[in-house]
Symmetry: D2
Subunit: 416 residues, 4 copies
């Protein structure tokens, strides 16, 4: 369980970090202004992507590249600290072609796509030429319980016909979004976990309509968290990803690495919030003392440091386990970081906001966005409670398997 | 300490409640759509105001009306439950001419304005014909410590010249906002609490510029929380409110009732969040159980009920004290509700968001706005920490005055 | 809903308070030393009881006295502040014949005892000549769900035969404890809530054995929280309290006032903890500042004040409701204070311990005991979770009855 | 940063674990009964020590053994998981001669004792023949700020004369305790951190009196947390440990490893609490469901798993840093685990108590003791707040050194 960052990782971290400092951080204001003015993708994005690619900072997230594919082969543990660095700016990951949900979609296609599907969709995604969306969550049901999903994918002759409504479909407003991977039921009468399948839907397929780009906690994302309607959308049967009934398994396979990415990016954002808090606490004075000299501010700084460092170690452990013992064995750890890190992020950002006072509420700092990201991640991809219950179930099973003997620590009186 | 609502209050509560149900709640969607489309004030606002006035539901917040002034005379305790009802919809208070900061401004003018000032500003405010802003917070200093304020109000001949920058100036984007009450230093060399004064500035005075309407936790308010620049703004000396050097005292006088209003409105919003949580918990099923049957959801409902009910009693006590022993004696209780209620609101809304899942993040519910309101109220008008420290100071003084004898409860061994 | 303390209450409060200051607080050390040395009841208890009785400070808790019974008739609301005062010293209530579980037992007997039972048990209890125990909780089942109770009370001819094991039976180690009120099943085949009955068992009945006095969070109570075994214990049928099958109803009737008493006493103890915290914070210096000048200490003081004051208002409201609308209508409020106040007590004591540092852990302060009392009250008489779920259930029912319309506050887009 | 347990560690862990299962856990009841009956040291302790020594499970904590000293040489990282295992039973560490404060005292003597001191004190300590105490905390001052210490160590001729009062002196009631290491001021006029020295005082020196063994949160330790008075206690100057004025530095050197030990033992105890919670949650039913099926219980289990696993990784990181970059560089991490782990322990134990209900309060489970240990560790060796402030100070310094540039993430509008 060696969490030390390898030489390769250290080098890449330094390169990514310098890239961030030189090319990305100085453009935060410009990004905000262009998006605010309705320019999206922002004017400099393609240039930055080209630069990143030319420096070998491309597709770093993907462990299983082929020789002819653009990108750097890294383990989850190696990629994790890079994700943390890119997480410091909300839109930075795309520069390195490492942004969700494209990352997860590329992983899915890499593992399960047919040669035709690879050529048509995976290649341009790996090149960063197109963007993609993943349609899972539905407005009408609690889709954290995947068996609740109602979208139907019905085979008719050589076509699948898709009917359903999805929302929180990230990227669907991105002008370059050309592919929608849709999860739905091909066989509602099958066993719970065999009902679903995934199909690939081109953005311009008739019947697919992006109804609206929904604000999230009042935050507007230009790439979109969208509501998407599928009304008699017809795709050739060749657009099925993997096999019929494999949707649930595919979704599971997609999740693990994505959670590492999300969590590490979140910790990067948490570090920014903490740095801002530390800096502000030394600048402002109230009632004759610097803010950090007011007791609770110092404690917030300290607790934030503890919480971030602890959480990072747990994420690295989960990454290490995925690399070394496999996603299945790492399930508990993956659930643990998913249930933990969003709260850490929201809490640290919340403290930073309080230290900034009024300014912390404004768009003049990234704190409101960081807070909102943390808060909404407590729901995205399954609410905390679902993950906590999975963890509890695994703890209980582990105990049952070990023929639980905790009772040897009890000393009730002997009763006659 | 009778907190029972009087017959008068009960009647008014019922009338306001019916008014809300009949005229306001059904227009929530229309309000959102008009504001989103850039129509502000919304098309139906003046009609609703006229209706409310005709039904005697007008200026209910103002305890010291004169005979020729429009409105209903209520004590703080009597008004409190009405504020709670209007707080259920974020924009409802204006319908009854009971919205901040106009309420506080009207109170200030009522108590301290000269006859000319009353005629020019108070009258149209009481009639709801104009709106007003209150300029206190500044971006460049921690203005929760009011001695930090840097805006200068310099007398030159028969004029005051104002220079400074304010932000979080509510109402400044409202098309009807005609008056800005500005806090600044007339004498920076005086004792800390005698340096400040308030002056009345007409909206169209040269040099006054509303620079931007700042989002608050990504929420856009059409009436605005604005940054306002005063650059050599000149007003006649007759625009001074009260006396030179009285600014701090005026600000204090303005605060008490406003905090009751804010807190009760917050509890109204918290009730809506709780009702939504309760309703959702009965509608959705995950993993074969209704949400409320999942343990923590039930506990959230219960804790929310406890926290709201407790907080309401404390606000009513503060109101009762203001009415019966005066603002000064009620200072601790006023600080207590200010330090408490925003957190209650944010916490209840946060739980409701979690119960709603993805939908709780969207604009399809009022929860994101309610959460944001609670969170920003933890900073507005002094961050929690400032109020907590005031309370601690008062507790310590109380103990010192009583020649603190807690040590009689200690039993260290006698030492030789 | 007038929470003001009546003249009668104010007078009694002052008398009780002076009695405490003069006779009880100065004996805290002596009490500890005598108990530590094994002297129990302590040497001065009967003298203090006689004094309290002679001053009319006797049986204050009992609202429904008869003319020939010793004591002062007070409503729950009137008694509440007196309970708070006596709660400041853990053993003070007994001086006024107001200690649990004797209070609840006297209430039970007052309401349901036959003339013979009154003469034999109630009279000496009202006179303070004997003590009594209440046997409900059982070690072998989760007895917060009363239907789990396993003790059997079997009728054989003119006798009931009792078999079972109880624990947490308060008072059972008290040398004066002469009566055990025992809850058990007379008809395990009846409906869940008709299976149980209560019988009166004299302390010297063969087969009744007090097995041990169990420490509670390492605290040793001289009066005992005991494990009691009933092995073929035979009592005459005349010892049945009320009717067969009424046990559950009797237990319910017993609970309400007891919860007010417990909660108010807890708040009295919380006030002592807060006073000690405030005093300590002004005495000790670390790193050049008084403790209260270290940020979080000030905030702990303030939050403790808020939490205590809020909780007190809620308890008074529950008391007022019991007096004015009845126990049944006050069920939710009674559950709310039960789920709330123990945590307030534990939290305030926990903070006080932290402010005291090492000394806070020792028996030189009452804080460890106060903390332990608060913590164990979170379990005694039903764990928090049980009460929170009752509250949630009542909220949900209320919402269902009102044909829940919270959805009028939602604005999902209209869907075609 | 390889946290994997080495082969050597794995083997030792297995041996220690088996030793615990076979020899220690089965004697928990006997230990409690003997201590309760006043037998201390318990009858089997010396046998178990001999057995542990014979199996090579001895002095495992000491990294710098000499060839002729009994024990196993382990790094901090290697020892950490063993400490976790021994922490599962409160009195187990002594069996392996790894109990505080003897461990820290042996470390001190190992590093700083003169040959005579080593022969006289270190040797029998390493052999487990005697026990020792460490006298630092004082009742009369806030000794978390070590400059407050008032005990005087005055040189008179060839002797030091010690006058002062200490408390929380662990081991002082142990019949085998022969050595007291005393911290006091040899030069109150020197610089703050050069005033103190440490001297070795034999238990039977005239003037040294163990005044009482103080309960800690009502817990009685047979080895004692004692109040000790030094009244004109005279020792030869040769009893000085290290140099005059080095007391503070010695204390610092003593702390690091001790905190790793304490924290890992705490995590061992936390694991026991969690295992008990998991087991209980599967055994008891209320209201028709197993406890773990009641929502919050499952979440408590999951959160406990997350908190323990996170904390363990942080402790291991601190141990790794101590081993690889030195105590000084590891200062922040050491402060972090000290500020974190006691709360984790207290929280997990608190949840376990709640799951157990009434039984959790009794001595029939180890939970009350585990909770009390966690709670008192939040104060022992410096309250949380002191460590949090150290961490905050280090964060602020780090930021200042890096010429803090967090402001590049801010985007306030450009102002004219």
């Amino acid at each position: 369980m060696d969490f030390a960052y390898s030489k390769k990782t250290e080098d890449l971290c330094q390169k990514v970090s310098m890239f961030m400092d030189k090319h990305i951080v100085p453009r935060i204001r410009q990004y905000n202004e262009e998006v605010h003015a309705g320019t999206y993708p922002v004017s400099f994005m393609e240039d930055l992507k080209a630069l990143a690619k030319s420096e070998g900072l491309w597709n770093l997230f993907l462990p299983h590249l082929k020789d002819d594919e653009p990108g750097t082969r890294l383990t989850n543990l190696e990629y994790a600290p890079i994700a943390e660095i890119t997480g410091r700016v909300s839109w930075a990951a795309e520069v390195f072609n490492c942004n969700a949900p494209d990352t997860g979609n590329m992983e899915l296609l890499h593992m399960f796509a047919s040669p035709e599907q690879r050529e048509k969709w995976l290649k341009p995604l790996l090149d960063g030429d197109i963007r993609s969306a993943f349609c899972m969550t539905e407005p009408d049901v609690a889709s954290s319980d995947a068996t609740n999903i109602t979208t139907l994918i019905t085979r008719e002759g050589d076509e699948y016909v898709i009917n359903g409504r999805k929302w929180f479909t990230t990227n669907a407003s991105h002008p370059n979004c050309k592919l929608f991977i849709v999860m739905g039921k091909t066989d509602p009468s099958a066993d719970s976990y065999q009902q679903q399948s995934m199909v690939l839907v081109a953005q311009d397929t008739p019947g697919l309509e992006v109804v609206r780009n929904t604000n999230v906690l009042n935050h507007h994302s230009p790439e979109g968290h969208c509501e998407v309607v599928f009304k008699n959308v017809r795709v050739p049967v060749g657009n099925l990803l993997g096999e019929e009934g494999s949707g649930f398994a595919l979704a599971q396979a997609r999740l693990g690495p994505g959670r590492i990415h999300h969590c590490m990016r979140s910790l990067g954002a948490a570090e920014v919030a903490l740095e801002l808090m530390v800096e502000r606490a030394q600048e402002r004075k109230t009632f004759g003392k610097y803010l950090y000299q007011h007791g609770s501010v110092g404690e917030w700084i300290a607790r934030s440091r503890i919480e971030i460092d602890q959480a990072r170690l747990l994420v690295l452990k989960a990454a290490w386990m995925m690399d070394n013992v496999g996603i299945k064995e790492a399930r508990k750890e993956i659930a643990m970081i998913k249930a933990l890190v969003p709260s850490v992020l929201a809490t640290v950002a919340d403290r930073a906001i309080q230290v900034f006072g009024a300014m912390g509420l404004t768009p003049d700092t990234p704190l409101a966005d960081i807070y909102g990201a943390g808060r909404s991640l407590r729901i995205a991809d399954g609410p905390d409670e679902v993950h906590l219950h999975s963890i509890a179930r695994m703890e209980i099973k582990k105990h049952q398997k070990s023929h639980g003997q905790a009772s040897v620590y009890l000393t009730p009186p002997n009763r006659l």
